[in-house]
């Protein structure tokens, strides 16, 4: 009997917990979310004639946002732009003018990415087959779906290396030995097939030639005159 009561109590507790409404935080896949990179600002543009913007913020959706955002002009500053719900209101500038109903704008701000890859500063063309550059991306963001693209950069112009979209890259065997190539790894957050807030890292890697066949005259033992 006692055990039954305990089970019933636990069941009720679980039911209560699961029945509580869960107010969703904004994610990159939240419908109608607007994605921003760390350090970005949000420019609301010019308000309707004779009115100003009023912006309020909440981390979760609400009908009564209370946290006001101070605009810089019509811009939400980088410091004030965070993941969450922004409520945009227009209000006439006249005395006693009213606030409009709110436009809710879900915003997701990606954390800054740091990208790197490991590769030798040079390798011998003879060893090209064994070369593989290995990228890495570090971020504090909870969103971990990333996309990669390897480039070569020549005179500041990057050229995507076709098919090089994984975190590792095997350099081409056709690279002319004796040359130096700048490789770039660009990584970004991947959302619905699109990439956002990328970061890059460039590294110059030389390919050395295979030394010529040495011509070595080996003086063997001279025949002795026996």
């Amino acid at each position: 009997m006692k055990t039954t009561m305990k089970r019933l109590y636990v069941s009720l507790m679980l039911m209560t917990m699961y029945s509580l409404p869960v107010l969703a935080q904004v994610t990159p896949t939240t419908p109608d979310v607007k994605l921003f990179c760390d350090g970005s600002t949000l420019d609301l543009g010019t308000p309707p004639v004779g009115s100003d913007w009023i912006v309020r913020y909440s981390t979760t959706p609400t009908d009564t946002p209370t946290e006001g955002i101070v605009l810089s002009g019509n811009i939400i500053s980088a410091a004030d732009l965070n993941s969450g719900y922004y409520y945009i209101i227009s209000k006439g500038t006249g005395a006693g003018a009213c606030e409009s109903e709110m436009q809710e704008v879900p915003v997701y701000k990606f954390a800054a990415l740091a990208v790197d890859f490991t590769a030798p500063t040079s390798y011998c063309i003879e060893d090209v087959a064994s070369q593989e550059f290995t990228g890495s991306a570090t971020s504090t963001d909870s969103y971990t779906s990333l996309a990669y693209q390897w480039y070569t950069v020549n005179a500041g112009v990057e050229t995507a290396i076709s098919g090089a979209t994984s975190i590792t890259y095997k350099p081409s065997e056709t690279v002319t030995p004796g040359t130096e190539t700048t490789y770039r790894l660009k990584a970004g957050y991947l959302v619905d097939g699109l990439r956002y807030c990328s970061a890059i890292v460039d590294k110059a890697i030389s390919v050395t030639v295979k030394p010529a066949k040495p011509t070595i005259t080996i003086s063997g033992v001279t025949g002795e005159a026996l």
Partner: protein, 540 residues
């Protein structure tokens, strides 16, 4: 035939009714009943009667019968006339008045009056013991007031032969009796008297006390010697009072320092005929707050209502030797209805709110009388005749008072009025607040705070009446007044525009409500929802 009889019956009934009405009019509604039968004769030799029927001719009351008496060396003779009321026998202690014109020297005994019972045209009847006195009327004529000790219906006036050689005459105009009624109490005249002799005492201008003019007065001077004696003035009325009627005395004194206790030496004595039936003092009718008025020489009216007695004479007497009351001025001696009964009479106060009307009420204990309202103690114009007087809005300052007065008078339109009873009205201040400037709110909002400051006179409740009864706006009645702000409830459906209302605050203790405080609230339209196109700029 039958119809003729019926018509005759109806006419007879109507005639009987008219006759009864006429009789009632003669006997009970304020009209005098005159002696209508006379007998006359002489005594001794030398007396004569001229125009004996003139004294019973009510068609001309200015005519008179003249009795002449003479005394010569050889003979002397007097004359008499007996005036009979053929239709009435008066009860004991009734008083009948005879208007005469005689030399004042005869009033000491040269002319006498005697009542009779059973008198008619063919019989003098029997003598009834009586008392008589005389007084002077306002027009200077003399009245004899004769009171029978038992039932009587006639009075004989006898002119005795002069004590000295010569001729004396007595002109008899008429004799009348007036039943008690609720018409104006007619003062026939006045007499002065007193007990003892006070040096310098007496009554000056006695007729001024019965001339129906409150601005004139007789002066009762008590003199400076003769302590314990009295000086008096008596007013004679044409009939007996109703039970509950008041003796109303209007008096003043020369401006002087006074003490209220001095008025205890002024007596009001009421008589039924020659019988004293009640006494009181003026001092018992006065209050301390009148001293200022009396000291300044203004007149004051008191009404003294005896219990369960009727009277037809009012005597005001002053004890002599009371130095400070050596000159009591009697402006009028009147008989009036009892003074009004006022539920909230001075020094109690009727309290209203500042700017409000006060409904003052009084009743009269005297049937057939009306109430007259004034805003001053003496003189002034009647504000209203009725039981209830509504004042104009009372706008006296806090701590100040407004006074109203109410007196009774017979409904027949007599000028004579009772003492005016004072009613004091004070005003409680109105609570007030000061509202902030006009309110603005947005369409769809349902609450707005109406803030206020400058609270005065303890408002604790408020009411709001919206002007024009806009749809969905609900008036507020006597709601508790919140601190600093009143929350206005606006219907969410209210369209944009300006709405006005009247706010009133109330002090629940005094029930005084402020004047209406107008306010307005502007409901502004809401702008459209922003429709921003925000483009994520981080795609590559």
């Amino acid at each position: 035939m039958y119809l003729t009889v019926r018509i005759l019956s109806i006419f007879r009934a109507l005639a009987l009714c008219l006759l009864l009405l006429a009789a009632a009019n003669l006997d009970g509604y304020g009209q005098k009943i005159y002696a209508d039968v006379q007998r006359s004769g002489t005594t001794g030799t030398g007396g004569t009667i001229t125009d004996p029927n003139f004294s019973v001719d009510v068609s001309n009351l200015t005519n008179y019968t003249r009795l002449s008496a003479s005394s010569t060396v050889l003979v002397s003779g007097g004359a008499w006339q007996q005036l009979t009321f053929s239709s009435r026998t008066f009860l004991a202690n009734s008083t009948v008045f005879i208007k005469v014109n005689v030399a004042s020297s005869l009033l000491g005994g040269g002319i006498t009056a005697q009542t009779y019972v059973g008198s008619n045209a063919s019989s003098v009847g029997s003598i009834v013991t009586s008392q008589s006195t005389y007084f002077t009327s306002i027009d200077g004529a003399t009245y004899l007031a004769v009171t029978g000790n038992s039932n009587f219906n006639a009075i004989r006036i006898t002119l005795a032969p002069p004590a000295l050689l010569g001729v004396s005459t007595a002109d008899i105009y008429y004799a009348f009796y007036e039943p008690t009624n609720k018409a104006c109490a007619e003062v026939l005249g006045t007499s002065v008297g007193g007990t003892g002799i006070s040096l310098g005492g007496g009554v000056a201008n006695p007729l001024n006390a019965v001339d129906n003019n409150l601005n004139t007065y007789s002066s009762l001077n008590g003199g400076i010697l003769g302590l314990g004696y009295t000086i008096s003035q008596t007013a004679y009325f044409s009939n007996l009072s109703n039970i509950g009627d008041a003796a109303t005395i209007t008096f003043s004194l020369p401006p002087s320092l006074l003490q209220l206790s001095l008025f205890n030496n002024i007596n009001i004595n009421l008589y039924n005929g020659s019988a004293l039936v009640n006494s009181g003092t003026i001092g018992g009718l006065l209050s301390l707050d009148l001293l200022g008025l009396l000291r300044s020489g203004q007149r004051y009216t008191v009404s003294y209502t005896p219990e369960n007695v009727v009277f037809d004479r009012i005597e005001v007497s002053i004890a002599t030797g009371v130095a400070l009351l050596t000159d009591l001025r009697i402006h009028e001696i009147q008989r009036t209805p009892a003074k009004p009964i006022v539920p909230i009479a001075h020094p109690s106060v009727e309290t209203v709110c500042y700017g409000s009307i006060a409904t003052l009420r009084a009743t009269t204990a005297s049937e057939g009388s009306v109430l007259r309202w004034y805003n001053q103690l003496n003189d002034g114009t009647i504000l209203l005749e009725g039981n209830e007087y509504t004042t104009p809005p009372v706008t006296i300052a806090v701590g100040d008072t407004a006074f109203y007065y109410v007196a009774t008078a017979w409904a027949s339109g007599c000028p004579a009025e009772s003492q005016r009873v004072k009613i004091t009205v004070v005003a409680n201040p109105l609570p007030t607040i000061t509202l902030s400037s006009s309110l603005d709110m947005c369409q769809g909002d349902v609450n707005s705070l109406l803030s206020y400051t400058n609270i005065a006179n303890d408002p604790t409740r408020y009411s709001i009446a919206w002007s024009g009864s806009p749809v969905g706006f609900v008036d507020v009645n006597d709601a508790p007044l919140p601190l600093n702000n009143i929350t206005l409830t606006i219907p969410a459906s209210a369209s944009a525009g300006t709405y006005t209302g009247i706010l009133r605050v109330k002090n629940i203790t005094t029930s005084c409500e402020s004047e209406g405080i107008a306010f307005s609230i502007i409901v502004h339209p809401k702008p459209n929802v922003p429709n921003l196109e925000i483009i994520t700029n981080s795609q590559y």
